[in-house]
Symmetry: C2
Subunit: 280 residues, 2 copies
């Protein structure tokens, strides 16, 4: 392993890890270099398992013990030799100086992004998909990926304005599900749903508004080979009227007659994914 | 309405609203005075609807317009006369000086707590209940209340160490479901579950560990009058071995064969509540 001790938070080799809570800086830095960060031993190893290639790793001295496990997950050319990935080991105070807070987990990886696959690739063989319109909160995106992957949904499709699943917080909340669940992003918000319909997907728009059908009823009698895409809208406003109009059917989760208007978007997504997979 | 303009953040009448992000201060202050805070017009009005009596309300000048709606929800003796509840109207800068951050929603209410009902009261007529062991995160507690109420679970029971549902963040995330869904707290962690069993509840321990039964299978053939309590454990460790041993059956949510160990606790709670209510 190419282990490098660094004692100075201003060392330029640590630039990938700078000020992790500065959202604007991170967005431009990560876009410019085509990188994303994974946090914690488990999530870093899941990124490696999924085939993402690291640019470097950062460990606090206390967490040196994770090295053998990570080394075992590295492809041979990155574990040793001229292309070996640099592993920066730093005191806790240096880590804190770089990232801007106490680095509790003590393990970070900076990874190269891969080009997003095309819609055809992501949906090949998929019978169930979740389509996120403008979910802007990274925690919600990560939580929905975790639920969709865990419950067995086959693919995720993002609208152009949906938050980035490879943003650090989304990655962490997803527990690495963003690495294993195939996803891509539509480039065309207005017309993009027609590409799903052309591929045989029936579009179910989840909305608590009146005039919708109970989700289990909408799925009753589905054949195993049917293709269903569940459309989920933003945290506050729900789906746009354009997407509601484009859907084949509006569906809702059966709710109690109480003074509660709706579930939050991650709870609704979990229940809907469960029902979707169950009916296939 | 007893509207009082205050221009000084140090005014003692605003003491209920002091430093909302100082968890230790809030815990002792709220326990000492038996109060809790509701945040935002909708949640404040839901607290009033549910019969909680306000100690005072705090509005920023910009949100003065909510007053008629709130006045309509106040009991007559609190809307006018010698017992009229004080409504403090303050500039935004004063609100920020008191609570410690920009008060985006601009509406706060300080309410008297009510004594928690006994277990018998909470469970009277209930066929489904959720029992939270040591969920320590207020966001998770609030989200579980919202899902349980929305999906139609009848009651919630808390272990002694579970986080407070009336803590500000739990209240907000629950969207006021903590006011409408009956709940109480066990005083005895070790033996408390036997009180549920004595009342005819079958105890289902939710756990991703091997050796559990699929939740839908565990509920198959349930009669409408059967009573089921779903036990949920902490975010990281899950249920204690004591509670696992006390349960009638260990259940799990059907999961895909992927590199995802489990759902997060709020997603798992939502799916499990959905399945629980559906089978009754």
């Amino acid at each position: 392993m190419n282990v490098i001790e660094i004692a100075d938070a201003a060392d330029g080799r640590l630039a990938d890890y700078l000020r992790l809570r500065d959202v604007n800086l991170r967005r431009s830095l990560e876009a410019e270099h085509g990188l994303f960060l994974a946090e914690g031993e488990k999530v870093v190893r899941r990124a490696l398992h999924a085939g993402y290639r690291p640019r470097s790793l950062l460990l606090t001295e206390r967490r040196r013990g994770v090295l053998p496990g990570i080394a075992a997950d590295l492809p041979a050319d990155l574990a040793a030799g001229p292309e070996a990935v640099p592993v920066y080991v730093v005191p806790e105070s240096v880590a804190e100086g770089v990232v801007g807070f106490h680095l509790h987990r003590g393990v970070l990886g900076s990874f190269h992004r891969m080009p997003l696959p095309g819609l055809g690739t992501v949906l090949a063989g998929a019978r169930t998909a979740v389509v996120l319109e403008d979910i802007v909160d990274h925690t919600n995106v990560g939580a929905i990926f975790r639920s969709a992957a865990g419950l067995g949904v086959d693919a995720v499709v993002l609208a152009p304005r949906c938050a980035d699943p490879l943003y650090r917080r989304a990655v962490r909340v997803s527990m690495g599900a963003v690495f294993t669940l195939p996803y891509t992003r539509l480039t065309d918000w207005y017309g993009g749903l027609s590409e799903l319909r052309e591929r045989g997907f029936r579009l179910l728009a989840l909305t608590p508004a009146p005039g919708s059908v109970l989700l289990p009823d909408a799925l009753a009698g589905a054949a195993p080979d049917d293709r269903h895409a569940l459309l989920l809208g933003t945290e506050g406003e729900g789906l746009s009227s354009r997407w509601l109009d484009q859907a084949d059917v509006r569906v809702r989760i059966p709710m109690a007659e109480r003074d509660v208007d709706s579930l939050n978007v991650t709870a609704a997504a979990a229940v809907a994914c469960y029902e979707l997979v169950r009916s296939h």
